[in-house]
């Protein structure tokens, strides 16, 4: 499909002898939002890492905009307009907020520069108050905002958020979800890995549930919310 951004076909990933992903198919189109859900250890982050070249699948293919990128390096995939906000944030603690943002600034795949430093400041006014602070001086919530802001500075077509609100206080988590919702409205495709099924299904159009490295549900967020037993069975909430 011409508007397909990222696809995984029949992915099998192992950590040593442990078979983690069992033939997963995944795809996301331009502008789409996918909530990737499942209990801990079900393979959500491994799927993301397998598609980004951070973990090499033993079988299967990864396609970016229809081109086979199964052997591509992570930076080559990132250059295709895919931004990753990893679990644990991964900011550069020795750099200031400004430096963290500016070091990642670049035009999008088609030359767009919609996400400028100023626009990121408007989206995260809190970062403006901390602009000269070192990464190590930021709270968890501020670090998360910085990581998302840094990803936006690459003018991505796809933003992948892995456990964006993990460990954050409920108020801060709500604020981050509010901002992500606003970002979604700009048309950036988004994959969100999170345990808060209510928040993510309200932001995303589609939901996928993984159990033991396999997709057990792939449908609209509306369908997901209409089946509380699905959430109960597979997410245990």
């Amino acid at each position: 499909m011409s508007n397909m951004l990222l696809e995984a076909k029949e992915i099998h990933t192992y950590y040593g002898a442990s078979h983690i992903l069992h033939g997963i198919d995944f795809n996301i189109r331009e502008g789409e939002g996918i909530a990737l859900m499942g209990r801990n250890g079900m393979g959500k982050s491994t799927l993301i890492k397998s598609m980004l070249g951070l973990v090499r699948p033993r079988h299967g293919r990864v396609l970016v905009r229809g081109d086979d990128r199964s052997r591509a390096r992570t930076w080559q995939i990132a250059q295709q307009g895919i931004a990753y906000v990893p679990e644990g944030r991964g900011i550069f603690k020795s750099l200031s907020v400004r430096e963290n943002l500016l070091m990642s600034a670049r035009a999008g795949v088609d030359g767009r520069r919609e996400w400028t430093f100023d626009r990121v400041m408007e989206t995260f006014p809190r970062l403006g108050e901390r602009i000269g602070n070192g990464g190590w001086q930021l709270s968890g919530g501020e670090q998360q905002m910085l990581t998302i802001g840094r990803a936006l500075m690459t003018n991505p077509d796809l933003l992948i958020l892995d456990e964006a609100t993990e460990g954050l206080a409920p108020l801060i988590a709500m604020e981050i979800w509010r901002i992500v919702k606003e970002i979604r409205k700009t048309g950036i495709a988004t994959v969100i890995v999170d345990k808060n099924h209510g928040a993510v299904t309200s932001i995303c159009d589609r939901a996928m549930i993984l159990v033991k490295g396999q997709v057990v549900f792939d449908g609209s967020s509306d369908e997901t919310r209409a089946q509380p037993e699905l959430i109960q069975t597979h997410l245990g909430v």
Partner: protein, 190 residues
């Protein structure tokens, strides 16, 4: 079938729950000596609770969802009447919380226990209220309302202010301000 109005109610419940949880954590931190009381912050949090759930959320439920469900389900009637009565008492309950905060501001540490108790009562009541809506009203609404009913209710909810924006982004701005000034571990301030 999509239930956009129920999704909005879920969203608003989450926002209220987060605010109440934040206020509770703040007060527990003050009691434990980890945090200093910031009366303006606590008053802002009560403002949010009053403006969003009491002035926007509850009237919307009464006027659209409950009004329609009343016509369709006899089983839902006593539950709706109970919830509507609780909505009517909303002003009184929030006023009790404000009074307890004001007493705490005037009396200092001697007023903390009273405010904490008032907050506990308010929070327990809100949890029970939200649970009743989500566990009893939502299933009945899904079972008894028609596609046309849902279209009307969803349209009315979508036309209404939401907790994230409000008129001219008023609520979103208030929420963000609270997150920015509340000290860790509640918010980003401090």
């Amino acid at each position: 079938m999509s239930y956009e109005s129920l999704d909005i109610i879920h969203d608003e419940h989450r926002a209220l729950a987060a605010m109440l949880s934040g206020l509770g954590t703040l007060v527990a931190g003050i009691e434990a000596g980890r945090l200093q009381p910031d009366f303006n912050l606590m008053a802002s949090m009560i403002d949010y609770i009053e403006k969003v759930p009491e002035k926007v959320h509850h009237p919307k439920e009464d006027a659209f969802l409950f009004a329609k469900l009343r016509l369709r389900s006899k089983e839902a009637l006593p539950i709706i009447e109970h919830l509507e009565e609780e909505h009517r008492q909303g002003d009184e309950r929030i006023a009790a919380l404000r009074t307890a905060l004001e007493t705490y501001r005037q009396n200092g540490i001697a007023g903390l226990a009273g405010f904490q108790a008032a907050l506990k009562t308010y929070t327990a009541h809100e949890w029970q209220h939200m649970n009743m809506e989500e566990r009893m009203i939502f299933p009945l609404a899904k079972a008894h309302l028609s596609a046309e009913d849902w279209a009307e209710i969803d349209a009315a909810f979508l036309a209404n202010d939401n907790p994230w924006q409000g008129a001219a982004g008023e609520y979103a701005a208030l929420f963000s301000r609270i997150v920015n000034i509340a000290p860790a571990p509640v918010g980003l301030g401090g």
